[in-house]
């Protein structure tokens, strides 16, 4: 799929250009995966708060939204960006999530060793978000919308610092950090699903 079979620049204008069936299938598949991971992310968040104890699961619990190294929540202006830019930001976020989820899993293995389901779901989340990120990169490359030049990926040192901090910090901050990471995971896969839906043929423009 080296040729641009479609353009992300103006999907409406190029609607008459039909995407190759396999690209179309790839987009649908990636969108479906994002939809599935959105549901898994919601379940993971619920499971996570249950194991941290109250007040984590209580309604109205609002810990500080701590900044996480190399990853922030989707900006309010995200929805107003051009689709290619949105998808590139989605891909960057998906690439930053796996090491953060791994760090949370390692910490939870110490705090909740008798919660094998939670640990397994954190491990699955890291693997699944890697797969979604790779699929999205493939779609972007096929559409010629992959990032040109160095992508603003999270620096490795930042990710490592987050991982180290997750290990060294007190237990309560570590619980809050894990909650934050699970929340970011949910926000970004949901954002990816929404952005991809605009690419799916027959989907919303």
């Amino acid at each position: 799929m080296s040729r641009r079979e479609g353009s992300l620049e103006d999907p409406q204008a190029d609607s008459s250009v039909s995407l190759l069936p396999h690209l179309e299938a790839k987009i649908r598949q990636t969108h479906s995966l994002a939809h599935l991971l959105t549901k898994y992310a919601e379940q993971l968040l619920q499971e996570y708060v249950q194991h941290q104890g109250d007040p984590f699961g209580l309604p109205g619990f609002s810990p500080p939204r701590l900044p996480v190294a190399g990853l922030s929540a989707p900006a309010p202006s995200h929805a107003g960006l051009p689709l290619p830019e949105r998808l590139r930001l989605d891909a960057a976020a998906l690439a930053a999530l796996p090491p953060l989820l791994d760090a949370v899993r390692r910490r939870q293995a110490e705090l909740n060793p008798r919660a094998p389901r939670l640990l397994r779901h954190l491990e699955d989340a890291a693997r699944q978000v890697r797969a979604l990120g790779a699929a999205l990169e493939t779609v972007l490359a096929a559409l010629g919308a992959a990032a040109h030049g160095p992508r603003p990926e999270p620096p490795a040192t930042a990710t490592a610092a987050t991982a180290a901090t997750a290990t060294a910090a007190g237990v309560f901050p570590a619980k809050v950090l894990g909650l934050r990471v699970c929340g970011l995971y949910r926000e970004w896969v949901s954002r990816t699903e929404g952005d991809l839906s605009q690419l799916v043929p027959g989907g919303p423009a």
Binding site: H51, G53, S62, P64, L66, A69, P113, G170, V171
Partner: protein, 518 residues
């Protein structure tokens, strides 16, 4: 700074949080842009405490603008606001807390103690670990499946619940040499178990123990010493088949194969059989089916479906004097006994009792069962009685001439029981000797009870109960004199091994009141 009083072996849950060189992630209290928010630190961070102990904690506020006040701060524990009287303002920026008689932690990740600002926002948090040190694990039991591995199980101390995550580690070493080894495969047969899959030595003792560790301390079980060969178990016997015994309505034959995994090792297997009727939950157990792979169950109800299971004990591997460990029961195998009067292949015909035909008529059969039930109970020769019954039946088939000579009688009659007793079949006039079964006569194979085994207690009760109940038309009354004498002084059981070729030496059983009209 006031701090909680940890228990005797308390460990700090975590190192104090280091300064964060990159500060890309802040502990709680990162100033929110433009909010002028404060930061706070709770001390102690993540303490470990004994149940019932007390905690003194502080929440110290720093912030922008400076001079943050402790006024309005409050505490929550696991989401519940703590009573104001438990807190007091130490100084302008510090709120103290005193908790007494702490309960065990609600979750293994620690109880969440949180310091809140006046508006409810979270300033800082600390996790409390309140529990008990582990108690000594006990009751370690181990077994080896086919001498290839070792699985051990234990009980985690007298009280079990420590409210803290407690790690159990199974250790083992060769008694006379070698280093400590740690089992790695846990929870294989329950929460407190471990499996050692390989590299185990035979003919030499192992020492095995369990170490329990949590934040408040550790405990070690007593050492168990064993040789793998003394704790061997095996698979249940495969290929269990249950079948009818011709037309015999109260018997089923059970056959099985010895477990293949241990067939190359010299051992004397012991087997155990259990059976139950289809709609019952009560199993009857046949013990001590020693080293045979077949057994006949008797005293069963006609026309009834039975479930049967067999298990094996690999007794005496490599000359060990100790019994092994019983295997699991085999999968249930079902079979039904013939209905009353139902003819089966090779079964004796149920013919009227006069002149010829089998002595399988109801009253005689019931009375024979009565007799056998009494014999089993009082003579303690359960297997003997069953074989005698078989031999008696076989002999009666061939002695119908004798039957024709027997009328209804009252009074004592002599009954020769079994082969080689030298006494005639029942129904003779007192003192007369009827035709005698020849000594040393070998019975046809279909009547030989090869592998017959003792009846279960329940089965025994079932038969003698039926005998006592008598069924319809059974006679009741005092035991005849000789029978009564036998009841007081039961004869010893003769050996039945290869009994077909040897005469049975038994006293003549004389009883009255038994109708012997065939």
């Amino acid at each position: 700074m006031p701090a909680g009083r940890p228990g005797p072996a308390a460990q700090s849950a975590r190192r104090p949080p280091p300064l964060l060189p990159l500060l890309l992630l802040c502990v709680l209290g990162a100033p929110r842009a433009g909010s002028g928010a404060h930061t706070a630190v709770i001390s102690p961070q993540d303490p470990t405490l004994l149940i019932g102990s007390s905690l003194q904690a502080t929440c110290s506020v720093h912030g922008d603008p400076p001079g943050a006040t402790a006024e309005g701060l409050y505490w929550t524990l696991n989401g519940r606001r703590l009573a104001p009287e438990l807190s007091r303002v130490l100084n302008a920026s510090t709120l103290a807390l005193a908790l007494a008689n702490l309960n065990g932690s609600r979750q293994q990740s620690g109880d969440n103690l949180v310091c809140h600002a006046r508006d409810g926002s979270i300033l800082a948090g600390s996790c409390l670990y309140v529990g008990l040190p582990p108690e000594k694990p006990f009751n370690i039991s181990c077994w080896s499946k086919n001498m290839k591995d070792l699985t051990c199980r234990w009980t985690p101390g007298a009280h079990g619940e420590t409210f803290l995550h407690t790690n159990y580690s199974l250790k083992y070493k060769l008694r006379w040499y070698g280093q400590d080894n740690t089992c790695e495969e846990y929870h294989t047969v329950g929460p407190h178990s471990c499996h050692v899959p390989k590299d185990l030595a035979l003919f030499t003792p192992y020492e095995i123990w369990v170490e329990a560790t949590n934040r408040l301390g550790s405990a070690r079980s007593d050492v168990l010493t064993l040789d793998i060969l003394d704790v061997v178990t095996t698979d249940p016997p495969p290929d269990v088949h249950v079948s009818r015994v011709g037309g015999l309505e109260d018997q089923l034959s059970v056959r099985w194969v010895s477990p293949p995994a241990l067939k190359d090792f010299l051992f004397q297997a012991k087997y155990q059989i259990r059976y139950r009727v289809e709609d019952s939950v009560d199993w009857k157990v046949v013990d001590d089916v020693s080293n045979q792979t077949s057994c006949r169950l008797a005293g069963l109800k006609p026309g009834t479906v039975y479930f049967v299971q067999v298990r094996c004990n690999p007794f005496g591997i490599y000359g060990s004097k100790k019994a092994g460990i019983w295997s699991e029961w085999s999968h249930p195998t079902a079979a039904s006994t013939p209905r009353s009067g139902e003819a089966g292949p090779g079964s004796p015909r149920a013919t009227p009792s006069r002149g010829g035909g089998e002595p399988s008529s109801g009253p005689v059969r019931r009375e024979l069962k009565q007799f056998l039930g009494w014999l089993k109970k009082h003579a303690y020769c359960s297997n003997l009685s069953f074989r005698l019954y078989d031999q008696w039946r076989a002999w009666m088939q061939k002695s119908h001439k004798t039957r024709n000579q027997v009328g209804r009688r009252r009074g004592p009659a002599q009954v020769g029981v079994g082969e080689g007793t030298g006494r005639g079949a029942g129904g003779k006039q007192a003192g007369e000797a009827g035709p005698q079964p020849p000594r040393h006569r070998r019975l046809p194979s279909k009547h030989r009870t090869r592998g017959s085994c003792p009846r279960a207690d329940g089965a025994r009760r079932e038969v003698s109960g039926a005998g006592r109940a008598g069924g319809r038309g059974a006679r009741r009354g005092p035991l005849p004199p000789l029978a009564a004498g036998l009841a007081r002084n039961p004869p010893p059981c003769p050996s039945l091994r290869a009994a077909d070729a040897q005469p049975l030496r038994l006293p003549v059983v004389v009883f009255s009141g038994v109708s012997l009209a065939w």
